[in-house]
Symmetry: C2
Subunit: 362 residues, 2 copies
DNA sequence: TTTGTTGTTTAAAACGATTTAATTACCTTT
DNA sequence: AAAGGTAATTAAATCGTTTTAAACAACAAA
């Protein structure tokens, strides 16, 4: 019952032309730049036949011969993390527009897995890669970059490597959100972060420090470094902080904030009565119960769009000069209306993600 | 500077054998069933050379010739939705183990987009598909099924089509969670659902009805049907319900719950003091602020694992009988400890997703 | 008539693997 | 010594495109 796939040959015979001509017409349809000269009538006839037979070019054959797959690989930390899932979605949509297909992979911050994923993707013949590098992946990234495989780093950067990247201005974001806390009257503010050598994390911590220092609060600067696979220890951090009279926490990520707030709640403390909280990334939870003092909203759409556009640019000018672009996105600080009122279950600031001004390039 | 890719030919000449032999060895390495007879020493020599040259078989060539791509397509509603993102992650991990690559696509509940995604994936040569069908996609699904393309439906089913599927026992879940609400003393319970013809949604509503009826509460049965692209109307539902003295809401999905709870908060009501809330799918928000009466926890891992295993089974026995399996997963009802205490910001029930018993097959 | 020229079309060679059918080498057996 | 059998190996066809270089047709210029 299996109907044999219709090939370019079928179209050619049906239309009474050679397969080459069909190929010319089919690839030109996609709007190629090198226009082959094909008689208009013949071209139309071929298109008609192709349409009638419902001809779909075989992707494997095309890739084999041309070396181009119109597929890209996207290597993230974890696609089930809301932040990355949102970005993935934007990349997907944008790629769809350009008629590119996307392969996703999650590293779990494991450099070996990252290396393996990249290998698999390259092996599958992707035209380029968007990668969220993890700790210990520097060497692999450098290798990819010097192999001249189109590459865009996302969210984090790697030192001493010539490649394009799209990142947030993390330092500025860290400083601004710290200042938001301070302007609410808090001074004993501590940061909860990861014990990972990641550019974005380090910059956020730096911003926090700068923010504190600019208000003369250097004596209270304290950053807790958690291992991402030992998240339960966050409860100790909270307990310890409570004893030392800490007033507010600044969480370096989404995941830290959620776990931290859970630890706070479990310990019997209340937000914002006992602890004020601010964090990076927004979250649905914060939208429902508007209890956080402020959060850094990252321009997710821009991350996806800029990364994909950059990558496609690289793919298309592959043989030309290897230009590198660094896109630094501006954070948006969203301050809660109600946090200082000490209430719970009050109207959230925004109904959906789409509201509010979109951050712009620096 | 571009280093030419090493091909099977290079390995063959280096090892002093024919390319056929290399092919035999390379594909046998993967544990094929039809063992070609190759001299052990020669095989080892070939493997050594392949390793030394870092030979990676060209995927396009392999796909073109063999018709198998070791890639699958996964068509979801929206990968940025936490529920689907979690499933995607499980599928990814499991596929990785089997050395399969996964293509993801989001339909936004649009049947045209679903059709297009499936077309693109098939065109890319995927060996099989996992699909979350949306409203209006029945015809497309049937077409795919009768084309004998390995297919597994996820989360929702399509009537009158012979295909495998993995779904929750939605009716049972609906009944149980309704009973959980009733056992807390609520009787004026209304359901907030979608105006979509989706098997899972319909079953959940049915369960709610059965649950209410089994306690003689049929007079209060009322299901609100929202359009997923008109989510803001949920505020009207809440306001209207408040006037009619409704005590509790049962939300049919994650997204409805989040938007509903936001609408409640915006309207100045409090959870659980003014409205009790129960819903399908858990969410990080509910973990932090343990205010919901109960939620249906879906066995996400099982969804991914079962769907992928089924699909691979279909792919591998493609030429044999087209057997269909229907996997129905049991829901787990998670009841909050604190909801009836009328508190906010109390210790949540579980620290992370991994706690608690895992639901089993019916 | 010959030589270009321009616009169309095509034959045939890749691309890099898999897979079939045939061949070789080396034993046994008769 | 011939025939048969088995294990190991290989030549060659094939998958469905893209792409290069050549061929062809028609017509203008020399």
């Amino acid at each position: 019952m299996r109907e044999r796939k219709v090939t370019i040959k079928d179209v050619a015979t049906q239309a009474g032309v050679s397969i080459a001509l069909v190929s010319f017409v089919m690839s030109n349809k996609a709007g190629g730049k090198e226009t082959y000269k094909v008689n208009k009538e013949t071209a139309q006839r071929i298109l008609d036949v192709a349409d009638k037979l419902n001809y779909q070019p075989n992707s494997a054959a095309r890739t084999l011969r041309s070396g181009k797959s119109r597929a890209i690989g996207v290597v993230l930390s974890d696609i089930s993390n809301k932040f990355f899932a949102d970005i993935a979605r934007c990349i997907e949509d944008r790629a769809y527009k350009y008629k590119y297909t996307v392969l996703f992979g999650s590293t779990d911050e494991n450099p070996r897995k990252l290396e393996n994923l990249i290998e698999v993707f390259i092996d599958k013949g992707v035209d380029g890669l968007i990668v969220v590098p993890c700790e210990g992946a520097d060497a692999v990234i450098r290798k990819v970059a010097q192999q001249r495989i189109p590459l865009v780093l996302l969210d984090r950067e790697v030192p001493d490597v010539e490649t394009s990247s799209v990142v947030l201005n993390n330092c500025k974001a860290g400083a601004q959100i710290t200042e938001a806390l301070i302007s609410r009257g808090f001074s004993r503010i501590e940061m909860v972060s990861y014990a990972m050598q990641l550019s974005n994390i380090r910059e956020r911590e730096k911003g926090y420090r700068l923010g504190m220092e600019s208000f003369g609060l250097e004596e209270y600067v304290r950053t807790h470094h958690l291992r991402h696979d030992k998240m339960q220890l966050i409860a100790d951090v909270v307990r310890d902080a409570a004893q030392r009279g800490v007033q507010a926490f600044l969480f370096a990520t989404n995941t830290l904030a959620i776990n931290g707030m859970m630890a706070i709640a479990r310990g019997g403390w209340r937000i914002p009565q006992d602890f004020a909280v601010a964090c990076f990334d927004s979250n649905e939870a914060f939208d429902i119960y508007d209890t956080t003092v402020a959060c850094v909203r990252q321009p997710i759409e821009r991350f996806g769009v800029e990364a994909l556009d950059l990558l496609i640019k690289h793919i298309e000018e592959k043989d030309v000069l290897p230009s590198c672009t660094r896109v630094v996105l501006s954070p948006e600080i969203i301050e809660s209306k109600s946090a200082d009122a000490g209430m719970c279950s009050t109207p959230p600031l925004c109904m959906s993600y789409s509201s509010g001004p979109v951050a712009v390039l620096d």
